[in-house]
Symmetry: C2
Subunit: 302 residues, 2 copies
């Protein structure tokens, strides 16, 4: 089973008729995780048939509005639809007050519980469940900003049916073998795990890095991830603007991807000063061939 990354918005600050503010959904077999939530994200969730009540964990990178202005509306809709289940919101200091002050003024008593988990630093395990571990990544932006590293939990080892038959392994022992244990029979005789199972499917890893200037310490944190989303707000011609605003160019993003040896790079958070996005690929691909535009509405499997 692969993971899907659904891009809901890959524009930067100014939403237009053709480009949404940042938001994306990581879909595992059973859970969906929302990453950032620009204005009107709830509409894009509807458009792409992601049911809002399936979201249990929301990750907000930082408090520039194009990354969270849609959050309170989404949370409000969950309430109006009668949600019961707790929603966990992971984000920087300040987010909780911004959300709560709005519900307080509205006199709303939510039908469900919001649990805020304040992220205070990078390289911290901020969430773990049956499917994934999520670690914060320190980025380099004008205000405190975090990326997120999603890692699938280790998958079960694959049983070798012929070996199970040969060694007469009883059914009850199979689960422990998929977890890497040897088999010990009632007489105390051991069958090594390696004889009974093969390595599991590799666990996939996804790194989300927006917004940030080129940031060298990031590279080792995201080494060899299968998929990297890295912002590239600007083209090289506007490198001074990129530096002044702590954003990246397409080349910066490609350099990070190249140095970290990732599988595939998605470029996003495009300034809408550029009429089309061809220039981003032209600048990124000579540095990192597997550079792609994060297209809104696309699902990227990995």
């Amino acid at each position: 089973m692969s993971l899907n990354l659904l891009i809901l918005g890959s524009g930067s600050a100014l939403p237009t008729l053709n480009s949404n503010q940042t938001a994306q959904v990581l879909e595992t077999e059973s859970e969906v995780y929302l990453i950032d939530c620009g204005e009107a994200t709830q509409i894009e969730l509807r458009r792409h048939k992601v049911r809002v009540q399936r979201l249990n964990h929301i990750f907000i990178s930082h408090l520039h509005g194009d990354h969270f202005f849609g959050l309170v509306g989404l949370l409000s809709t969950m309430h109006l639809l009668g949600r019961q289940k707790t929603v966990h919101i992971h984000g920087p200091q300040g987010l909780e007050e911004i959300v709560r002050i709005q519900f307080r003024n509205a006199g709303s008593h939510l039908s469900y519980e919001m649990k805020f988990h304040t992220i205070t630093k990078g390289d911290e395990l901020i969430h773990e469940d049956k499917y994934v571990k999520v670690t914060s990544l320190e980025l380099n932006h004008r205000i405190q900003t975090f990326g997120f590293l999603f890692e699938e939990q280790p998958k079960p080892r694959k049983l070798i049916p012929e070996a199970l038959a040969k060694y007469k392994i009883p059914n009850y022992a199979r689960k422990s073998i998929t977890q890497g244990e040897d088999y010990v029979d009632p007489d105390g005789k051991t069958v090594k795990n390696a004889l009974l199972s093969t390595d599991p499917e590799p666990s996939r890893r996804y790194a989300y890095c927006s917004d940030t200037a080129f940031y060298e310490p990031l590279i080792q944190r995201i080494e060899n991830v299968d998929l990297l989303y890295h912002e590239s707000t600007f083209l090289d011609a506007d490198i001074e603007r990129a530096k002044a605003t702590y954003h990246s160019t397409a080349k910066d993003a490609a350099r990070v991807a190249n140095l970290a040896g990732v599988g595939k790079l998605l470029l996003g958070h495009f300034s809408n000063r550029y009429k089309n996005r061809e220039g981003f690929l032209q600048e990124a691909r000579p540095i990192f061939l597997e550079s792609h535009i994060a297209e809104e509405g696309e699902r990227y499997s990995f």
Copy 2:
């Protein structure tokens, strides 16, 4: 020159792919006024080619999110586009803090000044300029909620060219005649204004009433307005729900329109439990014939 009311959103709390949260724009010859600002209003402004920098006055009726969740994003966009001119925001207590806390957390220093004008009661002149006077209207909702009465300033009386010639009225005196004054010639002889001019175009009046239960004291405040927007969230079958939530049915809205003797009624703020809006007209028109659906994207001239 007529006034235009552009409906950007006439849905209620839940935005969908076909229905926006409440927002509308009143367009005079020179000024445009934004009334309520649900999520993604800035996108609808773009869609209908209303330039955000033309907005100088924004009126927010109350602090339920479907009436203001788009405000901070709109104000942020004005900043990103380099606005210099002050924006005046008229709304209930609490709105200023909700907006400012978000810009504070973003570390934003706006390129322009936001001036908040807190509305504390109904029947209060909350804004006046060359074109209009705006008065707050007390409504009857779950939290403090205001409607808005927009009244065009008196227009100039119309000069009678033949009379000006006959009485040899000099050019310099014409403006004062359009303002209703008599003409006094250098010899002290008076020509009555009524001989020189006719009554001006009537000043148009627009009343915006959302959200509210049927509220009898409202009727005399909006008597004879040319256009009334009155919420009708529910149909008669759901009257208990309307009562419980302090909303109106289509019949309630039509009764208000009928008793106030308005020119035309626009129904809006529809619950999206109803598949189509035909039922609202069926219930309203027997009570008030000039009942219409507030269609998103339509401009209503009056």
